[in-house]
Assembly symmetry: C2
Homo-oligomer: 386 residues x 2
């Protein structure tokens, strides 16, 4: 069916729910080494051990997405993601239309946890829908824009090395927003890094800090008072949310809004952390809430009047394409630079056409679905199940 | 493009954003008399004076929706809806892709108020998308189910007449959920109606009450204490939200959850009313928030952990088709019966195939878009601009 064949206000579409019946779900483990390992308060990453999720329909459509295992944040491993998809989720999907997303989610959510596995399936289903309709997921979700400004994450190092890394990202990719990993003890080295960045770049860059829960609440408060003159955008997860009262005091005294990331990954957690005074803003990561769940959290945050930021689950290129597809779809997610550059530190990826950041921006490809195409040779090389 | 022509995971869709360029927006006034006028605390309706919104694209697609004027609730009139669409909104839409919904909303929301006009445009755009993709709006929005249980609104009358009306709706349409209009002063007649209904039907029916702000907060509290034994589901807008402290006391003392309807029509109002203790649940009406805004409020309510109900803006059949299209799309909106039967009191409508309620359920047609087709002769007869 081409659109030119459609006419008037009479329904003439040929796609039906039956056409998009899911026939097969694959969870393919792969491993790609990092060229430059990423270091932060809650861990280090040397190899991307992710799972490629592929959803096949009776019509021969194939939707793809990426599920990164983050045992220190969500408890999932590459093996657990494969196991829950193969053993529980695939049988719940097969025979169902890819259009029946809310019914599918009701089934998947009978299983507790496993956010990356659920999110991978959700995004692969949206990829199917975009391909079936011939439109990008960005347009399906809202169609706000064509890309996002990129924020780059600066991992632990000495001040001079982190300034040099920021300068390189600015020169090579035009990136001017930096998320500085903090949370080392004592905190003075991290403060020195932030000060060195502000002194090196002046007002030409946006800076915010992410502690990955590395500090105590009192040290978070002290560190932020040392950085009150640095015009930071946000402070993210400097201390654990489970240090409940200490965290609330930190949020009350913090000179900039505090972003909840790993402490607010479900709508219920978002409500509790915001209303409990443990956060002022929310990080949205499609790698853990998919497109469907991320839109719920986005709408909730908008309704409550708090800012959101598109975060990065140390995504590969497929995951990054998912993040920008979602972020570009909405006005609110497009307001701030998105964390879309972690893939630059990986030695390779699975895509036929690598993503490119230029002028500080990552554009959505505009192709149907998530808009990326796998390279079969790379998949064969990096997959670890054969 | 048929789905059979699609293959593999390579993007081969032919639909592009350019294809769905909006070329024309119509706001057509029409008037259809009621066979049985509806009476409630904030007014009476004898004639449906609504506006048919039609959005045309360069490809010849036509999306439709219905905008009902409710001057006593939102300040809009049939003339104001036409004026704001013709004068402000149509020029902001023309030349834009129907896919760019978030960008379109950013433009429309520069104009304050005018909720029914904005909602009509939003739903007509979704109708275009469904027709372009060949799928129902229900599937586009979430694809949860195929229809909703129906709740029927019982307008003011004597107890025996309202029991008879409920019996007729049960017998003729299988409807077993009733929203009882209350808010008359003194309140004893309304209490007698609810008691008569419970005595006549026992546990075979669900009952809730809607006061359309007709009582004072103290009288609302007294009336509800007289009905505490009637196993009501909810109490809706018994007193004005602007009686702020009195309303909060009523909500605290009410034996059943209190629904905010006309007091919580935007995400910001929803947050204020719920967190301020002025409501426990939210009525969603696509006639005032469209599909896009209704999904925002739904997700916000889900995140905050409050119930929702699909309400009725005294919709005609097009508006009712829009309500059920949205309600059937999500698990949360499908949980309660939706208010989908007001059109039964109208003497006629604009559709080629009238909606039918049977077994207490209204099904979505499943046809692409909102799934309804206009009867050109009826439109020519009832439109009032020619």
């Amino acid at each position: 069916m081409t659109l030119a064949q459609l006419g008037g206000n009479v329904a003439v579409g040929t796609t039906t729910a039956a056409d998009l019946e899911v026939t097969r779900v694959e969870a393919i483990p792969f491993a790609i080494p990092y060229a430059k390992p990423l270091r932060f308060a809650s861990g280090e990453v040397h190899t991307a051990e992710h799972v490629l999720v592929r959803v096949h329909t009776a019509d021969g459509l194939v939707g793809i997405a990426e599920a990164p295992a983050r045992p220190f944040t969500y408890g999932e491993t590459q093996a657990s993601i494969r196991a829950v998809i193969d053993g529980l989720f695939a049988p719940q999907l097969i025979g169902t239309s890819a259009l029946a997303r809310e019914a599918i989610h009701a089934r998947l959510h009978r299983t507790v946890g496993n956010p990356a596995a659920k999110a991978g399936i959700d995004m692969a289903l949206w990829d199917v829908l975009g391909k079936a309709f011939g439109v990008s997921v960005t347009d399906l979700l809202g169609g706000y824009g064509a890309g996002m400004r990129v924020s780059h994450m600066l991992g632990f190092d000495e001040p001079a090395a982190m300034v040099a890394e920021a300068a390189r990202m600015q020169e090579q990719y035009g990136i001017t927003t930096f998320k500085v990993k903090v949370g080392r003890n004592p905190f003075h080295l991290d403060v020195a890094v932030c000060r060195a960045l502000r002194e090196a770049f002046g007002d030409a860059v946006e800076l915010y800090v992410d502690g990955n829960r590395g500090w105590s609440p009192a040290d978070a408060e002290r560190a932020m008072s040392h950085m009150a003159d640095l015009d930071l955008l946000f402070a993210e997860e400097l201390c654990p949310a489970d240090d409940v009262l200490g965290r609330r005091r930190h949020v009350r005294t913090c000179p900039v809004p505090v972003i909840a990331d790993e402490s607010a990954t479900t709508p219920g957690e978002v409500t509790r952390e915001l209303l409990g005074g443990s956060a002022d803003a929310i990080s949205i990561k499609v790698a853990r809430t998919g497109f469907t769940g991320s839109q719920r959290i986005l709408h909730q945050a908008e309704g409550l009047g708090v800012e959101v930021l598109m975060g990065n689950q140390i995504d590969g290129q497929i995951g990054t394409a998912c993040s920008v597809a979602f972020g570009a779809a909405h006005a609110t997610t497009s307001r701030r630079a998105g964390e879309l550059s972690n893939f630059l530190d990986m030695s390779d990826d699975l895509l036929a056409e690598p993503l490119t950041i230029s002028g500080g921006t990552l554009h959505v490809s505009g192709a149907p679905g998530i808009g990326v195409v796998l390279d079969p040779d790379k998949l064969a090389y990096y997959r670890t199940d054969t």
